[in-house]
Symmetry: C2
């Protein structure tokens, strides 16, 4: 933190988001859902997609990229797979409703897939993993995005950072992986640049084509490093293709041609793990695996975490003690 | 290549594999299927899991880790999700049959998931992606494995390299991603060590805890780098958990406790993309995306490939001109 943080309760933050959304003429239901998602992102420590992103979201609504008060519509279905049209509505609204629908399909078929087209930025992908896990379902979900990462061997951005979410419910704390295909996001690089800090590991290529930890260089060359180098480049491509194919929606190159990130494609695959064949065994191997992980020999006495563990702890702490916020951003919200 | 390679036809290689398998008392059907998979791995340029691996496979059969002539058995099913027991049978036999079963489920439900337990090493994961793509289906599939990679923040191997396969059918050449969770496999590191070569990018940590390209150091410290660092560490963990949970099979820590890599867990999720709502649009966006990718500005005049493109080219070339093989390994096969 580079500011003296203040602490605001989850309910207070949520009610301020909701006040602004209602003022922008969102209907009660959508304002409630959106304020919940934005406030939960701060609650989970995902500052980048909570209060920090809210004014930008309102701006997208005013500019008309994000349509108010529309609901996703089912276009077609083949039993356990359904295509839905997000009608350029609010990303978190569409994503929450499609997560719920995937869960319904999973109850009926064992697993269910909703492929959503024409939707908008879902903010923090982990939100939908938490949502499914809270309902007792495992989830695999991803989104495509505007191109910002070059394919391996190129210096021209063609691939999205396409966050991939995998969630597994667990009573003592859900396991929720949420990883973008760039090693560091441009948001993180911008913040490090402001503080004159380098990344801890290589972030991309500099203008000489060498690996660099200097955020400024990567922002200039636009050659952010994919996770796993050529592997993340390939993974981004196939996630994009599957999302666009199954939803009947836009692929990264079509989103890029719009010059603004809207009408993206997303996938939500939920798994019913409540059957007796799965449940008892699942409990045993999840707990055994987490115990085994936590018992790993630590280097530099750093804790070994499972995905989502830190967010889970922050949720508990911030619910009790309030959410740390940037006071300038909080003041701006109160004035919106 | 460090040897003068010879060229052997696909049919000749396959028939030699089959001869040995029949001599080992595999039944006709399994010998046919296994010889096809091993020969196809060489055909696709995946030398590490073709002829190179065959004597080790036969050894596992003789030692009894891989059971001959058993077939996977359906344990339970919930519509589009089924649990199968591989009964410690030959990995490629189980994986081919479960890919086929996932395709059958996808025909019925739109998508289908087979969760397989108690199976053995599937050799090259791409095989099952190609299989599904040839049948016109998209596939997401992965396996867990014996621990060989430390979780992020530890130097104790707890995670498998858990290859993830994503395949998308395409008439002009299937798109098949096949990525392990380590940036470089121990097989690759061993080969580079023999030649006194370093990896091109960081491969792991040395004994001082610094990143290194020296394969010998990584083999000593056992700190191979996950793809995307902490991200691949988390991805390996959740893939392992899902595979073990859904199949009712072993998780990585249980496989590790066996001290030998057997009775692993695998997932096969097939997607029916033949419906009119999906097919026409899919063709357009796949071709548009691949064109866009191939048009990317190249650095170092290196080609920009989609996942599986190189394998697809090798398959065509090697079918015509024969498969390049290590003459010593070929001679050993003839003498088996």
């Amino acid at each position: 933190m580079i500011y003296e943080e203040i602490r605001i309760s989850f309910e207070e933050l949520k009610s301020q988001f909701k006040r602004v959304l209602l003022k922008e003429r969102f209907i009660e239901e959508q304002a409630g859902l959106l304020s919940q998602v934005f406030a939960e992102n701060n609650l989970s420590g995902k500052e980048s997609h909570g209060l920090n992103r809210f004014p930008g979201f309102i701006d997208s609504v005013r500019k008309g990229f994000v349509k108010k008060n529309v609901e996703p519509e089912k276009i077609s279905g083949l039993n356990a797979v359904e295509q839905w049209d997000g009608k350029s509505g609010a990303g978190p609204v569409n994503a929450i409703l499609c997560t719920e629908r995937a869960i319904e399909l999973a109850k009926e078929f064992g697993l269910g897939c909703v492929a959503l087209r024409n939707t908008n930025h879902w903010m923090c992908g982990g939100t939908y993993g938490w949502k499914a896990a809270e309902a007792g379902f495992a989830l695999i979900s991803w989104t495509n995005a505007i191109p910002l990462m070059p394919p391996w061997g190129s210096d021209e951005p063609k691939l999205g950072n396409n966050p991939l979410v995998i969630a597994i419910p667990r009573e003592e704390g859900h396991i929720v992986l949420d990883i973008a295909m760039t090693q560091y996001s441009y948001g993180q690089l911008e913040m490090l640049k402001l503080r004159n800090n380098n990344t801890e590991f290589d972030a991309g290529f500099d203008s000489q084509g060498h690996l660099t930890k200097d955020p400024l260089e990567v922002i200039k060359t636009k050659r952010a490093l994919p996770i796993g180098l050529w592997k993340g480049s390939g993974l981004s491509l196939v996630l994009d293709l599957l999302a666009a194919m199954l939803s009947g929606g836009n692929s990264a190159y079509q989103i890029g041609a719009q010059n603004v990130e809207t009408n993206v494609s997303q996938i939500f695959i939920a798994f019913d793990i409540s059957s007796p064949e799965i449940k008892e065994h699942a409990l045993k191997i999840i707990n055994g695996t987490i115990e085994d992980l936590h018992s790993s020999k630590q280097i530099d006495s750093s804790m070994i975490y499972y995905p989502g563990e830190t967010s889970g702890r922050k949720r508990k702490e911030y619910l009790k003690d309030g959410i740390p916020l940037n006071p300038t951003q909080w003041k701006q919200l109160l004035e919106m």
